[in-house]
C-alpha cells in the first residue's frame, strides 16, 4: 500500500507538471514545474517527506542509469558530428571547467564572508573577536 500511495503522489505531481508545461507558454520543462510544486507542497505541510521518501529515494538512486539510453544515441549522430567533434568537445570541456570554477569560488567566497560577518556580529564588543583563524 505504501508504494501505491507514494507512486500515485509522485506521478500525480509529475502529471500536473506536464499539464503546466503544456498549458503555460513558458520554456519550463515538466520536471522543473513538478520539482517546485512538490517543494511548495512540503513547505505548506500539505505533503510530508515520509509520504514520498521511499519511492523518491529509489528514483534518485537509479537516476544515473536514466541518462544512458539518450547518451547511447551518440552512435547515430556520430557521422553528422565528425567534422566538428573535436572543437565541440574542447569547447564543452573548457567551458565546463570555467563554469565549475566561477560558480564554486563565488559561492565559497560569499559563504566565507558571510561567516566572518556572523562572527563579527557575535563577537561585537569583545576585544580581538574579529580575528579569523
Amino acid at each position: 500500500m505504501k508504494y501505491v500511495k507514494e507512486c500515485a503522489v509522485i506521478l500525480g505531481i509529475t502529471l500536473v507538471g506536464e499539464w503546466l508545461n503544456m498549458l503555460l507558454p513558458l520554456p519550463v520543462p515538466a520536471g522543473v514545474y513538478g520539482l517546485f510544486l512538490m517543494l511548495i507542497l512540503f513547505c505548506t505541510g500539505a505533503l510530508k517527506l515520509e509520504q514520498v521518501e521511499a519511492t523518491g529515494n529509489f528514483l534518485l538512486d537509479i537516476m544515473p542509469v536514466m541518462f544512458v539510453p539518450a547518451a547511447a544515441g551518440l552512435m547515430d549522430s556520430f557521422e553528422q558530428l565528425r567534422p566538428v567533434l573535436a572543437p565541440l568537445i574542447i569547447i564543452c570541456v573548457i567551458s565546463t571547467l570555467a563554469v565549475m570554477a566561477v560558480t564554486g569560488k563565488t559561492a565559497d567566497l560569499m559563504i566565507e564572508r558571510g561567516e566572518r560577518h556572523g562572527k563579527e556580529k557575535r563577537y561585537k564588543g569583545r576585544k580581538g573577536g574579529k580575528k579569523k583563524s
Binding site: P27, P29, V32, M66, G73, V99
Partner: protein
C-alpha cells in the same frame, strides 16, 4: 536476432547491466575516467554493434528508463526540502554563484567560439550546453542552433562534469559542500547532480536547485548573447 530486436526488455536490461558493470569496474580499479555512465554508454554501444541492433530498436525498450527521468527530477525536491533551511541561510551566496556561473558559461562559449572560428549555428548550438536537456533543446532551437547536436553537447558536458567534479574541487580548494553542489549543478546539470547526490545530501540539494535555476536563467541570458557571433 529477432529475440533481441523484438524484445521490449532487452534495452532496459542491457542499460542496467552496462551501468552495473560500470559501477563494478570503478570499484575494482578506482580510476576516475571509469565513470559508470561513460562505461555504460560505451558498453551499450558495443553490445548493440555486436548484436547488430540499431539504436531505434534498442531505444524502443530503453525509453522506459528515460521515461522515469521526469518523476526523478520532481523527486529532487526531497533533498532540496531537507536542506531548505541551509539554502535560505545562504540565499545571497547561492543566487550570486548561480548567476555568475550562467554568465561564465555564456562568456566562455563566446570566447571559445571566436577562438575556434565557429559559425553562428554552432555558437547557438553550444550556448545551452550546461543546462538540462528538456530546457536546452528549446533554447537551442530558439537561438538558431542544431537541436540534436545540442543534446550531444549537453551529454558530453554532463558526463565530463560528473567525472571531473571531485578532482576540480580539490584543485579549487572548495571548502563548503554548498559550493560543491552549486558548481556541479550549474556546470553539469542533472548528470552532475547525480554525482552531487553521491557526495552528500547538501551537495545534492544545492545541485538540484542549480539545475532548475541555472536552466531558467539561461533561457533569459541566451537570447541576449546569441547575436554576438
Amino acid at each position: 536476432m529477432s529475440l533481441v530486436k523484438e524484445s521490449l526488455y532487452f534495452g532496459v536490461v542491457v542499460s542496467l547491466l552496462a551501468y552495473w558493470a560500470g559501477l563494478w569496474l570503478k570499484q575494482k580499479l578506482g580510476w576516475a575516467v571509469l565513470n559508470p555512465i561513460l562505461v555504460a554508454v560505451a558498453l551499450v554501444i558495443a553490445a548493440l554493434k555486436l548484436l547488430r541492433v540499431d539504436y531505434p530498436g534498442y531505444y524502443e525498450g530503453a525509453k522506459y528508463i528515460s521515461y522515469l527521468l521526469t518523476p526523478a527530477t520532481v523527486c529532487l525536491a526531497i533533498p532540496l526540502y531537507r536542506q531548505l533551511k541551509l539554502l535560505l541561510q545562504n540565499l545571497a551566496a547561492v543566487a550570486l554563484a548561480i548567476t555568475a556561473g550562467v554568465i561564465a558559461s555564456a562568456l566562455s562559449i563566446f570566447v571559445l567560439c571566436l577562438a575556434f572560428r565557429m559559425e553562428h549555428v554552432y555558437y547557438a548550438t553550444l550556448l545551452p550546453k550546461s543546462i538540462t536537456t528538456a530546457i536546452g533543446m528549446g533554447v537551442s532551437e530558439e537561438a538558431g542552433g542544431i537541436v540534436t547536436i545540442t543534446v550531444v553537447c549537453i551529454i558530453i558536458t554532463g558526463i565530463f562534469g560528473n567525472i571531473i567534479g571531485e578532482r576540480m574541487f580539490l584543485l579549487l580548494r572548495l571548502k563548503s559542500p554548498i559550493s560543491r553542489g552549486l558548481a556541479l549543478g550549474t556546470s553539469a546539470h542533472a548528470v552532475g547532480t547525480a554525482k552531487a547526490l553521491e557526495l552528500g545530501e547538501i551537495e545534492g540539494a544545492m545541485s538540484s536547485l542549480s539545475v532548475a535555476v541555472a536552466g531558467l536563467m539561461t533561457v533569459v541570458v541566451v537570447p541576449l548573447v546569441s547575436g554576438w557571433i
